[in-house]
């Protein structure tokens, strides 16, 4: 089943046509990787899935992004609720300058009324879900800024999980991390897909091949090819895809 479907999606930054007629389905509880050279539109596309591009001056979006049967660009869409349900993790870990506990509790406090015990449970559940609870449980009141890069990124994932999304968007989540932290995040993503849908932008071909179920290749604003990851990396249908993944350009 598909949780998000983009239909005829076009995006202009002023006169620049950044996304051209994108049609793609995002399957539920799978990892979809978006690959392509710098400037191809993959991060732009990722951000259309929870309307993060709304904040860019001069942006114009046409077409549809259907999520749970509704076009998220239709009038009346509550963007705050949308971004709660479709969370985002960025390339550079960006914990809030507050305690580990408050980082996780921030979102739930905004969105709902929780008793202290409920909030404690939610914080623990989120940190466990991001495979970082064991490393931080004894210092929840300490500043998140004191964590390592890999821990901070997992904290950011926990923060996204705390508001109980069903989709996680990840924009190059491991490109700023060391190999050991990268491996932990990749293992976490494989666990997360049991309960969440994950869409990841990555420049790392081996990462995309290792962890994703589906891969979409973008080039100059177009989606050139999309398919099962094994197929895209073993027998790509389009020569441009083959040339990109074999390093002939990009």
């Amino acid at each position: 089943m598909n949780i998000i479907t983009a239909k005829g999606l076009n995006l202009h930054y002023g006169s620049f046509h950044a996304l051209k007629n994108i049609d793609v389905d995002i399957p539920e509880k799978e990892i979809t990787a978006l690959i392509g050279p710098s400037g191809c539109g993959k991060s732009t596309f990722l951000k259309t899935l929870n309307r993060m591009n709304d904040m860019v001056q001069g942006v114009k979006i046409t077409g549809e992004v259907i999520y749970h049967g509704e076009d998220i660009y239709a009038n009346g869409m509550d963007v705050t609720v949308l971004r709660k349900n479709i969370g985002m993790v960025f390339q550079k870990p960006n914990p809030f300058p507050m305690s580990i506990y408050d980082n996780i509790a921030y979102g739930p406090r905004l969105h709902g009324n929780y008793k202290k015990s409920e909030l404690n449970d939610l914080v623990e559940r989120s940190l466990r879900g991001a495979a970082v609870w064991g490393e931080v449980k004894d210092r929840l009141k300490k500043s998140a800024m004191g964590l390592s890069g890999g821990q901070q990124q997992r904290l950011c994932i926990a923060r996204a999980l705390s508001v109980e999304p069903d989709v996680l968007l990840m924009d190059e989540p491991t490109s700023a991390l060391d190999p050991a932290s990268t491996m932990k995040i990749e293992e976490l993503m494989s666990e997360l897909k049991k309960n969440y849908t994950v869409v990841i932008v990555t420049h790392n071909m081996q990462q995309a091949a290792r962890i994703s179920d589906k891969t979409a290749f973008f080039l100059v604003g177009e989606m050139v090819e999309v398919g099962d990851t094994d197929d895209v990396f073993s027998m790509p249908k389009d020569k441009r895809t083959e040339d990109y993944i074999t390093g002939r350009f990009g």
Binding site: M205, S234, T246, G247
Partner: protein
């Protein structure tokens, strides 16, 4: 030179190595059949000892392929090309072994024991040798049509095997003194038939290289 260009050069060197290994195996078949026809025991012993060089080529190409897999982490066509090479060298090495085995048998035969089969044995050997060379050519030139055409020639090699085997059977039934020599020739044509099979295997891997399909099954 960028890293992609360097990788392309290494893939070209891989193809060149396979051509050299294939040529050595084809040469071994030629020499083994000459030794069989002429009773040249010196030549036969040379074929047997030269088989070590073909074995060494197999090891060297295998190492090349493993290093490429390690360093380049190839995908798509590059992955299929390298994994096909790894499979092919086993078949080429066995072709070399078959030629050496034929040469070894010729050491204790009186040439020619059964002149009436020698023309067919020669034609069978030429066909099998031709298949081996064409199979490697198909890989290097990425020629799927050549691979398919070469595969079909294995039926002709098999036909020769059955024909010559029938004659040898008659020889054995006619005179018990023919038994030892007839069994040796039976071994020889069996080795030639195996060479045809190995060449067919190579062609099937060329199909995998081009299409991801091996023996009608999509494996990558």
């Amino acid at each position: 030179m960028n890293s992609r260009q360097a990788f392309d050069m290494e893939l070209k060197e891989l193809s060149d190595s396979l051509i050299r290994m294939g040529a050595a195996a084809a040469n071994a078949i030629d020499k083994a059949l000459t030794a069989l026809h002429t009773g040249d025991h010196t030549l036969a012993r040379q074929v047997v000892s030269d088989d070590n060089q073909i074995d060494e080529m197999e090891r060297s190409i295998e190492q090349k392929c493993l290093r490429l897999l390690l360093k380049q982490q190839p995908v798509a066509g590059d992955l299929r090309k390298i994994s096909t090479a790894i499979k092919m060298i086993t078949d080429i090495e066995r072709i070399g072994d078959a030629a050496a085995d034929i040469a070894e048998i010729s050491l204790h035969l009186n040439a020619p024991d059964f002149p009436e089969i020698m023309e067919d044995v020669t034609d069978m050997a030429k066909m099998a040798r031709g298949m081996a060379s064409a199979a490697i050519d198909a890989y290097v030139k990425e020629d799927l049509e050549l691979a398919h055409k070469t595969c079909k020639q294995d039926d002709i090699v098999d036909h020769y095997f059955l024909k010559i085997r029938a004659v040898l059977g008659e020889k054995m039934r006619a005179n018990v003194n023919n038994m030892d020599a007839a069994m040796d020739y039976l071994m020889i044509i069996k080795y030639l038939e195996r060479i045809g099979d190995h060449a067919e295997n190579i062609c099937e891997w060329v199909e995998f290289y081009k299409s991801g399909v091996h023996k009608k099954e999509r494996i990558l």
